[in-house]
Symmetry: D2
Subunit: 348 residues, 4 copies
């Protein structure tokens, strides 16, 4: 099975998630050809825009329809609202769509309308899609043609809380997520906030309790808990290129000690290659997952206030975007889930 070769296409290849996909797919042993597409730069080479590609094969930017034609699987790294039409075309050709954007993440259209300001154009497609968090939906992903790749913040929070909520270790009424993200999360579009002198040596919370990822986070956590979960979510822009660190504050429930909880969490993830549960006493750090597809989780307790505190870190561009998308591709095509994603995070 592992010798099977497929062709892949990346739509929106010139954006940050797109170029990261190209970087990771390039060394994937089951990938034969990579077609790349960009509406704004069609007709040029991706290599001319990203000098990191010099010396590699030329990645010529074709149009979307051609790219859909060429791929067995289509990665859509387009702004939200643009992937539904892509999905329609991909499904018509009986191919696979993995959408890095937000169009297929939410099951509740009302949330999509409220937070993204758009309606679903092809409502039926959403019934055929699945939320692509492998650690939660692995079995369902295998049979789906449309995969909504999770958002970066939701991935870090979901993986941190999955075992706690599904085991009933924490209260579902008061969960606070203080998440810090590197600047690549804002993409390659220019803004005052991401202008170097404004961003460097700075720290800025933004969209406080008002971020688009909130419904996605709550929907996923509610699945884990089997009941409605509400979170307070504050994202903060960090002066680093990559990575998300979520500090999650929960009210502890039940009589288990931290040691017992830790053991259960460790056991919960024991077969998950990409989720590392740190030893008690250790604290998860951003740098330990950068450029890798791993999520690292550490557990802490504030006995004085009866809080359980989770620190969860991922690379926002890998496990939070391109890497998780490839993980989903591996699942759909029956490849070893680790293929192309075994990179060890550099120590520095």
């Amino acid at each position: 099975m592992d010798n099977k070769k497929i062709n892949v296409s990346v739509l929106g290849a010139t954006g940050y998630a797109g170029i990261e996909l190209v970087r990771l797919l390039f060394n994937h042993e089951n990938v034969e050809n990579i077609a790349v597409s960009s509406v704004s730069s069609e007709g040029t080479n991706l290599n001319d825009m990203y000098k990191t590609l010099i010396g590699k094969e030329k990645f010529f930017l074709i149009n979307q329809d051609e790219a859909i034609e060429k791929g067995d699987v289509i990665f859509s790294a387009l702004p939200h609202g643009l992937s539904e039409e892509i999905a329609e075309k991909v499904i018509a050709k009986n191919k696979i769509l993995i959408d890095i954007g937000a169009d297929f993440r939410l099951t509740d259209e009302e949330d999509y309308k409220k937070y993204y300001g758009l309606e679903y154009k092809f409502k039926d497609l959403h019934k055929e899609s699945i939320y692509g968090l492998p650690e939660f939906n692995r079995e369902k992903i295998k049979d789906k043609k449309i995969i909504g790749n999770p958002g970066c913040y939701p991935t870090s929070i979901a993986l941190g809380l999955y075992p706690l909520l599904s085991n009933g270790f924490v209260d579902t009424n008061c969960i606070i997520c203080d998440s810090k993200s590197g600047v690549t999360g804002a993409g390659k579009g220019l803004s005052d906030t991401t202008h170097f002198p404004m961003c460097n040596e700075n720290l800025s919370p933004y969209k406080i309790a008002n971020h688009r990822h909130i419904p996605e986070i709550e929907e996923t956590l509610s699945h884990f808990a089997g009941e409605k979960v509400k979170v307070t979510f504050v994202p903060t822009l960090l002066p680093v290129n990559r990575g998300i660190l979520s500090t999650i504050y929960c009210d502890k429930k039940g009589d288990e000690t931290l040691e017992e909880i830790h053991l259960k969490v460790k056991n919960f993830y024991k077969d998950e290659y990409f989720v590392d549960v740190l030893n008690l006493g250790d604290v998860a750090n951003l740098k330990d997952v950068k450029y890798s597809n791993h999520c690292q989780i550490s557990l802490h307790e504030d006995k004085r206030t009866n809080k359980l505190i989770v620190v969860s870190v991922i690379d926002n561009m890998v496990k939070g975007a391109a890497g998780q998308a490839i993980q989903n591709m591996n699942i759909v095509f029956g490849f070893d889930e680790k293929t192309g994603l075994e990179l060890i995070a550099p120590a520095f």
Copy 2:
């Protein structure tokens, strides 16, 4: 009164708080002479250690007793446990001690023992000392000879919560402080954590729910609230040189709207030169207070979860250490409180 000139002494002048004191005192119009002392570098010039002082007068490092002799006010920027004996000597000479360390911050000796591992050697001294948060204790500071300058984290949290707790806007049972600090907070001592390649492009929570500043924070907040307050406190090391940003999550109490609360908070601080309450909608940012003695505060609400969220920023080395110490000096000596501290934060 403002023409009065005093002599000041800085003990521990070669440390980060010490050198910052020298920098700020140098341009203070009421300061005549600055004596500097350092146990480890006695007999050398501070200028040789910090090339930022080249071209200025020579700061020759003398011993502590000489420095105490020379100053009308003694700033002690020594490690905790060393300032009590200094205080004894200073008081004997009827001079003023402003302690940048932790020895005179806590009224409860049990907390000091528990978190700092030491006992008070001169218990009587602590009755004569005052916690030097000017916005809270201004009147009491005027008459005291020993001032315990607040810690950096506690300053950012106390100023953010003072009007909310004293007005009863928030519940005292569930306050979560997620505080991020620049690396100068760790001082000039070398460590793996502050080695550039380990710290740069990284983010590391540490001493989770276990930091020495916890009793100081709770004691101060309890004063504000008039009842016992407990906080969950998680500090995080940021890859920037300076600044603390505290994101504080509270359960909202009462029927006031955010607009009403904001108005009261703005009014609460209307005479405080160093505390800026931002307009609703704006978010406090680290860079807007760096190198200044200001604290900036922004207020936010998560209606969905009934949380009041405060973002409070200070420069850890100025309002969080040397600047606040000078503010205290100004109060004690009857100088305009702003003297030497009117610097506008650089925009970048």
Copy 3:
């Protein structure tokens, strides 16, 4: 004399040089009022754009003519090509213009045409102007109404080479200036190059041997040498906010030893408050001058290749722009040259 109060105006106050001028002028004891102007933001408060100004007096942005009317001295922090007309108006009112831009830096109009693509509109004005490098032109500055404030790169290079060229210690035929600048040098305009993820953890030489500062550098150095000097100049964008470090490679001439040269250089600058010559063996560092008006210089020798190497550092926004402009103002108005500029660089 020092009690005299003047009014100042800053045109282009919303740009990086403009806001830095406001910051420094705010604490200048001889400055009564600061009028600020901005074509793009007229009618708003500067305080709303830069939250560092919260709590200070309101800086209301008026139009240029009003601002010229209000100031005894006008600082023009406008893009090149726009200051000539300002100068015409300022001169007509018998006031002083200090131009932070490039319009009055070059004596040779051909160079201006070649490097800036514009012609002089008011040729006579240029005869009345002076190049505002105080260490070189102090006496002439006193009597001039138009001062062309030096560029940032040229300031660092000129101060580094002045004593060497005027003493004939180095060959004028082969001078190589490898200058590294913080990102504020590029101003507040957004660009791919200054987008945080492209700039952070990166280093990019640019405009190699082709930068607009070349004629200014060569003109100044030629004055020092008394003969035509040519330089190879390569600027490089550094991932820091502030500061310029120029490494300057010269062919050593004459028989003086490095020790003798160092002594002469130290003596040359002995009365210059803002130029620090480091001890032999020490190396000038960016951080030691940040946020200050100082230039620090260190001298080195490569005996093996007979090179004299100078490292010269300034803060590009202070000695390289706003600070030097204020220094020039102090000279023109007969204030102590250090007024408003005595800030010690923070140690971190």
Copy 4:
């Protein structure tokens, strides 16, 4: 041939070059087992020191002799002066030594004595060793048992100048190398210079014209030129984790235009997978090679001063250390030279 599996050993595995070797070797398809050794941490797991290795196989740190026993090839990432004895043992067992340190880089023992302060203990070994710059010595490397892996600065400079010197395009008398390096180049040892607040937002030239890499640079360049080459070399510590950018200034010789020279340089490297010659007009940037084994080179001319300027960038830990060492291993064992090193540099 490519199916051959070998065992490798890394001595000094806990240092920066060592852990980078482990990271890269881990995904090398011809590597069966990796043995790791560390004198200071023998008996512990490398995974406990570097949390980036969590979830991977355990890397148990054994002693040097065991490690030598286990490997077909031994990478020595030890401080200089310690690899000679290792070499003696490795040779005795008819195995391969690739020394990341400096012990086998210089052919002239006098230089080693002068710059490293040590004598060769096993002089004969040096006759059997080769300088492991594949682009220069590929054929010779194939048959050698001891490979002196080039230093990081020398690699960046040598690759930048090789085609220019061997074609006689530049004068050998006046070559100036202004090289900027990320902080990982200083290793994991703590120092004031690499303490975050001293290093961040700073830039510091060091060991001006006095760095240990000078003899290595000159020896290599002299081989290229066929005559004695002297360079002025100034290294500068950059506030970034990784990467070296060398700006190299040469006097242009001969009548070839820049276009002609560029064409020859491009052609010179046309078969070198790891050396990318940029198009004229483009400038090599640090970020385009980070985490990759590539060297990127751009060529520039200053017609006014008749200089040829080369900008050469590498990742100091990959092409400047661990990656090049693996490239050498691939050559010795007859693997495809790219194996394990095809990673594309991340775009950010």
